[in-house]
C-alpha cells in the first residue's frame, strides 16, 4: 500500500475521450481455458513483418508446441503447432484481416492427444547470454499481443541505454478485458516475466502502467511486485492512454518524436500479454500457442475471457460463447474504436486477437450518414497527438499528399477519437488510413520508379558502350581491309609491269605485245600522240581482225571462236583507248586526228574533238552549250545505230548501248555544269537551243530553265513548280514504261526504278510544301494541284487528300467521320474494280491491290466502330 501512497507524478494526456467502457460484462467469470475445439488453422503471417516460412510438410505429424514455421528475416517470428496432430494442408485460408483476403495457412488436424513436444525452458535465464535469450523468445513466436503483433525480439534487442521499462497494462479500449483478467489472475507470472525483461534491457526503473478503472488488477500487481524494483503506476482512465507513445508520455513526460522509436528516448514498452508469454516461453519453454481473448457483445450468451489455442476458428469460439448470429449486426476483431469487422467467421484466432466483439444493433449501431464538416474543431480537441483532423480531412479528400505530410498525417495513431467526437459523423479515421496507405504506396512507387530509372540509364550506357565498341571494331576492320587492298593492288601492278616487260621477248607475233612494243617505242612521244596512235593502230587491228573473222566465217574455219573473242577484246581495248584519248584531248585539244570515217564511234569522237577545239575559243557557257548540242546529236545517232544493230542482232549493240549510256551521263553533267555557269536570267534563253527532239536533253533543259526561273521565286512557289515538273515527268515516264513493257525492252526496269524515285521525290516535295504553306493557302494549292494533272493517279490522290484535310478541318468530328466513311467506301469500290481488272489481266499488281483493299476495309471498320 505504501507504493500507492507515494504515487509518482503522471502526465496528462492531451485530448482523448471517455467512451462507455463496457468492461464489466466480460469480467464476471475467470479465464476459461478452452480445449482444442477442432481444426487448427495457423496463418504464416500472424505478426507484422515478413511471414514465417513453413518447415513442415503436408501429412507430417506434429506435436503441440513444435515449431512449424521458422522466422524469415529479422522482423519475423516463429509459429508453433498449438496442438498435436497431422498437417492436413498448407493452403490459402481466410484470415482476420479487414481486406477479407485469404493468406497461406498451415492447417492441422488435431489427433486429440494434445501431446507436448519436448520443451526446453531456460530456468536459469540470468546466466544465459542476452542474444540466446532473445533468440529463444523469437523462436517461441512471441509477438506484441496488444494488437499490432510486432515481434518482441526486435523491441528487446535494443542496445541503447534504457531508462524505463514500461509494461503496458492500460487496455484503454472499451469492452476488452483480456489484459485486465490476466493481471488479476496471473500477476505473479507477469512479474516473473517482467524480471526476465529487466534482465534483458537492464532498465533504471520498471513501471507498470494501469488505468484506474482496473482496481483488482492494480491490487494483484501491487501484491506481486512487493519488494521488487517494479512500480505500478495508476493514472486516470482516458482513451487512448494505451497507445505506446501515449503511455510513455503519461508515465515519463517524454515524447517520442515523429517517426522515432521509444528506444530513442530510452524506453522499452511491452504489453502485459506479451510479458506473460515471455514468462511461459523462458520458464516453461512453452512457445506462444494460446492467448487470452475477450468474448463479449450482446449477441453472445456468455461474455467472458477465454484462453484459446491459436488457430481456433472464430465461428467455433463464438459458438462456444453462445453466439446468436441473427442478433449480431457484425463481429468485430479488437475493440469498437480500433477494431474492424471480420469478413469471414472461418478465420482463425491469431496472436493479436485480443477481443471478439459481437454487438447487437442497438449496442453498436452503424454510424449514421456523414454530414458536411462544420469546422467545429472538436476533433482537434480530441486528438491525442495534437493533429488537425479537420485539415487532414480536406487534404485527404483532395488527395493532397504534400499537405497531408505537412500536417503530419503519419503521426496519426488511428485511435478514432476524432471520428468519435465528430458531430457530423465523418469517418475521419477511414480517410486517414486510406491516405496513409496512399502515401506509402506513392513512396513505394517512387522507389520503384527510381530503380527503373537507374536500370534504364544503365541500359542506355551499356548500349552506347556496345555501339562504341562496334564502331571501333568496324574501323579497325576497314583499316585492315584497306591495307590489304593496297597491298594487293601494288602486287597486281607489279605483276602487270613485269608482264609488260617480259612480253616483247616472249612473242612478237602477239598483236597485243606488238602494240605494247609500239607503245613503248613511242614512249618519248607526247601522251596525246601516243594515245592517238594507239587508237589508230587498234582501229586498224580491229579492221584486220574483222576481215579475218569474215574470212573465217566464209571458210567455216575452226578458229572462228578464237577470232571472235580476240575481236571483242580488241573492241574493248579500243573503247578504253578512245576514252583515254578523249581525256588527253580534253587537256590539250589539237587538230583532229586522222580517223576512219567508217567507224561511227571514231567519227563521233572526231566530231566531238573538233567541236571541243572550236569551243576552246568560246566562253565556258557556249562551250558547254556546244558540247550539249553535239552530245545530243551523238546520242541520237547512237540510238539509231543501236536500233539498227539490234535489228541485225549485231554484237555491237551492247557496246553501243553502253556508250550511249555514257554519253547520256556526260550530257547530264554538261547540262548541270551549264546550269551552274549560267546566270539565272540567261538560262531560259539558252535552254531552247538544246535539241528539242531529245527527250532527256529537253527535260534537262526544261529543268534548268525552271531552276533558273525558280531562283527568283519564293520557296513555296519553287516547290509547287517542282511538284508540277515532277508530275509531268512521272506522266512521261509512265508512258515510256508502258511502251517499254510492250516492247519487252530492258529499259523498262530502269525506267520503273526512276519512276519510283520521282514519285518519292514528289511526295517529299509535297510534304515540304505542306509544311511551308500556311493553312489558308492550302486550299488553293490543293485545288491547283487537282487541276494540274488529273491523269496522274499519285498526284491526284495527294491532291484529293489535301483537299479533304482542308475541308475536314472545318468540319465537326461527326461530319468528318461520315465523310471519311463515304470516301473510304468509294475508294474500296474503286480498288475492287481495279483488282478485278488486274486479276483478269494476271497482273502483278493484283497482290498489292488486294493488300491495300484489306487495309481500306479495316479502316472503314474502325471508323464505323468509332461512330457507334
Amino acid at each position: 500500500m505504501s507504493a500507492l501512497k507515494k504515487m509518482r507524478k503522471t502526465y496528462k494526456l492531451r485530448g482523448g475521450i471517455h467512451p462507455p467502457e463496457n468492461k464489466t460484462q466480460s469480467l464476471q467469470s475467470p479465464i476459461d481455458v478452452l480445449p482444442v475445439m477442432g481444426e487448427i488453422v495457423l496463418p504464416l503471417g500472424m505478426h507484422i513483418g515478413a511471414p514465417a516460412e513453413a518447415i513442415v510438410e503436408v501429412g507430417q505429424t506434429v506435436l503441440k508446441g513444435e515449431m512449424i514455421a521458422k522466422p524469415k528475416g529479422f522482423v519475423s517470428t516463429a509459429i508453433h503447432a498449438s496442438t498435436s496432430g497431422t498437417v492436413k494442408a498448407i493452403e490459402h485460408r481466410p484470415i482476420i484481416h479487414a481486406s477479407g483476403m485469404t493468406a497461406p495457412c498451415i492447417v492441422i488436424e488435431p489427433d486429440g492427444k494434445d501431446q507436448w513436444t519436448t520443451l526446453t525452458p531456460i530456468l536459469n535465464y540470468r546466466q544465459s547470454e542476452k542474444n540466446d535469450l532473445l533468440e529463444h523468445i523469437n523462436n517461441s513466436g512471441i509477438a506484441g499481443m496488444g494488437g499490432a503483433g510486432f515481434p518482441s525480439r526486435v523491441k528487446l534487442a535494443t542496445d541503447k541505454t534504457i531508462e524505463q521499462l514500461i509494461i503496458n497494462g492500460t487496455e484503454c479500449e472499451p469492452y476488452i478485458t483480456a489484459d485486465d483478467i490476466l493481471m488479476q489472475e496471473r500477476a505473479a507470472e507477469i512479474v516473473e516475466g517482467i524480471e526476465i525483461l529487466q534482465h534483458l534491457v537492464n532498465p533504471q526503473e520498471t513501471l507498470i502502467g494501469v488505468e484506474d478503472n482496473k482496481p483488482e488488477a492494480i491490487n494483484a500487481l501491487q501484491a506481486a511486485t512487493q519488494g521488487k524494483n517494479i512500480e505500478v503506476v495508476v493514472f486516470p482512465t482516458k482513451y487512448p492512454s494505451g497507445g505506446e507513445k501515449q503511455l510513455i508520455q503519461i508515465l515519463t513526460g517524454k515524447e517520442v518524436k515523429s517517426g522515432g522509436l521509444p528506444a530513442d528516448v530510452g524506453v522499452v514498452c511491452q504489453n502485459i500479454g506479451s510479458t506473460y508469454a515471455i514468462f511461459r516461453a523462458v520458464k516453461h519453454g512453452e512457445p506462444l500457442i494460446s492467448r487470452i481473448t475477450t468474448l463479449t457483445g450482446e449477441a453472445l450468451t456468455t461474455k467472458k475471457n477465454v484462453e484459446v489455442r491459436l488457430g481456433t476458428s472464430v465461428q467455433q469460439l463464438l459458438d462456444f460463447a453462445g453466439f446468436h448470429a441473427s442478433r449480431a449486426n457484425r463481429v468485430i476483431a479488437g475493440g469498437p474504436m480500433m477494431g474492424f469487422s471480420i469478413p469471414s467467421l472461418d478465420a482463425p484466432v491469431v496472436k493479436t486477437t485480443n477481443c471478439l466483439l459481437a454487438p447487437e444493433s442497438n449496442e453498436l449501431p452503424l454510424p449514421p450518414e456523414a454530414q458536411p464538416c462544420i469546422r467545429c474543431g472538436m476533433c482537434s480537441e480530441a486528438c491525442p497527438v495534437s493533429l488537425l483532423p479537420q485539415q487532414l480531412y480536406w487534404f485527404a479528400q483532395a488527395k493532397d499528399q504534400e499537405g497531408l505530410k505537412k500536417h503530419h498525417l503519419m503521426d496519426c495513431i488511428e485511435c478514432g477519437a476524432c471520428s468519435y467526437v465528430c458531430p457530423s459523423n465523418i469517418p475521419l479515421v477511414q480517410y486517414y488510413r486510406a491516405s496513409k496507405a496512399d502515401i506509402r504506396q506513392t513512396a513505394e512507387d517512387q522507389k520503384k520508379a527510381d530503380y527503373a530509372k537507374t536500370r534504364y540509364e544503365a541500359r542506355l550506357a551499356r548500349i552506347e558502350k556496345e555501339e562504341a565498341e562496334k564502331e571501333a571494331k568496324k574501323q579497325a576492320r576497314l583499316k585492315k581491309a584497306a591495307a590489304a587492298t593496297t597491298a594487293k593492288e601494288k602486287s597486281e601492278v607489279k605483276a602487270a609491269v613485269e608482264r609488260t616487260k617480259a612480253a616483247p621477248a616472249e612473242a612478237t607475233d602477239d598483236p597485243v605485245a606488238a602494240a605494247i612494243a609500239r607503245a613503248k617505242a613511242k614512249a618519248d612521244a607526247s601522251p596525246l600522240d601516243k594515245a592517238k596512235d594507239n587508237v589508230a593502230s587498234l582501229e586498224k587491228r580491229l579492221k584486220k581482225a574483222q576481215a579475218k573473222l569474215d574470212a573465217a566465217k566464209a571458210n567455216n574455219d575452226e578458229n572462228l571462236a578464237a577470232f571472235e573473242s580476240s575481236l571483242t577484246k580488241l573492241q574493248d581495248k579500243l573503247t578504253t583507248a578512245k576514252a583515254e584519248l578523249e581525256k588527253l584531248q580534253g587537256e590539250a585539244p589539237k587538230a583532229t586526228p586522222e580517223i576512219n570515217t567508217d567507224d561511227p564511234v571514231a567519227a563521233a569522237i572526231a566530231r566531238a574533238q573538233a567541236s571541243r577545239a572550236d569551243g576552246e575559243s568560246l566562253s565556258p557557257e557556249d562551250k558547254l552549250n556546244k558540247d550539249i548540242e553535239s552530245l545530243t546529236k551523238r546520242i541520237k545517232a547512237t540510238e539509231t545505230k543501236v536500233a539498227a544493230a539490234k535489228e541485225n542482232g549485231d554484237e555491237k549493240a551492247e557496246i553501243l548501248e553502253s556508250s550511249l549510256t555514257k554519253m547520256q551521263d556526260k550530257l547530264t553533267t554538261a547540262q548541270n555544269e551549264l546550269a551552274k555557269l549560267q546566270p539565272a536570267k540567261e538560262a531560259p534563253q539558252a535552254a531552247p537551243a538544246v535539241d528539242e527532239n531529245d527527250p532527256v536533253a529537253a527535260a534537262i533543259a526544261r529543268a534548268q530553265a525552271k531552276r533558273s526561273g525558280d531562283e527568283a521565286l519564293s520557296p513555296e512557289d519553287k516547290l509547287k513548280k517542282d511538284i508540277d515538273g515532277l508530275n509531268k515527268r512521272i506522266n512521261a515516264t509512265q508512258e515510256k514504261v508502258a511502251t517499254a513493257k510492250e516492247n519487252g525492252d530492258d529499259k523498262a526496269e530502269i525506267l520503273e526504278s526512276s519512276l519510283n524515285k520521282m514519285q518519292d521525290k514528289l511526295k517529299a516535295a509535297e510534304a515540304e510544301l505542306a509544311k511551308l504553306q500556311p493553312a489558308t493557302e492550302k486550299t488553293e494549292d490543293a485545288a491547283a494541284t487537282q487541276s494540274h494533272d488529273p491523269n496522274d493517279p499519285v498526284a491526284a490522290a495527294i491532291a484529293r487528300a489535301q483537299a479533304k484535310r482542308e475541308q475536314s478541318s472545318d468540319l465537326s468530328p461527326e461530319e468528318k467521320r461520315e465523310k471519311d466513311i463515304a470516301h473510304l467506301e468509294k475508294r474500296i469500290k474503286l480498288t475492287e474494280e481495279k483488282l478485278s481488272e488486274a486479276k483478269d489481266a494476271g497482273d502483278d499488281k493484283a497482290e498489292i491491290l488486294e493488300s491495300s483493299l484489306e487495309k481500306l476495309k479495316t479502316k472503314l471498320a474502325d471508323l464505323a466502330a468509332a461512330e457507334d
Partner: protein, 198 residues
C-alpha cells in the same frame, strides 16, 4: 590625381560607376562560368515525377524525353502509367491547370511470358527498357517480375504473342483501405454512442 577628381565631380562619379560596373561585371561573368548549370534543372524535377516505366506511351521515347518536352511546353496529360496522380504533381510543380488524362488509365501490370510458347527470339529482351527480361537466343525467356515496369513494349515485338500483361494482384502486403465513399463503408469507428447522435 585625387585633386583632379575632387575638382571634377562628374568625372569622379563616372569613373566610380564605371569601375563598379567593371568589378561587378567581372564577378557576374566569373559566376556564370563557375556556377554554370548544365541542362535545364526543371527537366530533372519533371523526370523525377514521371513513373519511369520508359513505355513511350506519351509519344516520346522514354520518360526523360517527355520530361524535356514538358519543359518545352508539351501537355502534362500524356502519361498513362502515371495517371491522374502524376498529372496532379506535374501541375503542382509547373503551376499549370490539371488536365484529364489523354488516354485510358492503365491498371499496373507486369509482363508474363508463357514460357512453353516462347521461341527464344530475344526480340523482347531487346525491347525491354529496363532489362527485366532474362533469356538467350533459342532459350526460353522469362520476365523478372520485380524489375518489370509494365510498359508493354515487349508485347509488340513478340513474333508468337506469348507475352501477357498480367495486372498486379493486391496482396496482404499491398492491400490498403480505400477512401470512404458511401456511409455503408464507414461503419467501423464512431460506433459507441448507442445511437444518441442521429
Amino acid at each position: 590625381m585625387i585633386e583632379f577628381l575632387t575638382e571634377n565631380a562628374l568625372l569622379a562619379a563616372l569613373i566610380a560607376l564605371g569601375g563598379l560596373a567593371l568589378v561587378f561585371g567581372g564577378i557576374l561573368g566569373f559566376a556564370s562560368v563557375k556556377f554554370k548549370v548544365e541542362g535545364n534543372p526543371i527537366v530533372d524535377q519533371i523526370n523525377d515525377l514521371l513513373p519511369q516505366t520508359q513505355c513511350g506511351q506519351c509519344g516520346f521515347p522514354g520518360c526523360k524525353p517527355y520530361a524535356e518536352a514538358i519543359a518545352d511546353g508539351e501537355e502534362i496529360n500524356r502519361c498513362p502509367p502515371g495517371g491522374e496522380a502524376t498529372i496532379q504533381h506535374l501541375a503542382d510543380l509547373l503551376d499549370v491547370e490539371v488536365k484529364p488524362l489523354d488516354a485510358e488509365e492503365k491498371v499496373p501490370s507486369v509482363a508474363f511470358i508463357r514460357e512453353a510458347e516462347c521461341i527464344g527470339c530475344t526480340k523482347c529482351i531487346q525491347a525491354c527498357p529496363v532489362d527485366a527480361i532474362l533469356g538467350a537466343a533459342k532459350q526460353m525467356h522469362t520476365v523478372i517480375g520485380s524489375e518489370c515496369t509494365g510498359c508493354d513494349l515487349c508485347t509488340d515485338p513478340c513474333p508468337v504473342d506469348c507475352i501477357d500483361m498480367v495486372p498486379i494482384e493486391t496482396t496482404m502486403q499491398t492491400w490498403h483501405w480505400d477512401l470512404p465513399k458511401t456511409p455503408a463503408q464507414s461503419q467501423l469507428i464512431a460506433t459507441d454512442r448507442k445511437g444518441e447522435v442521429a
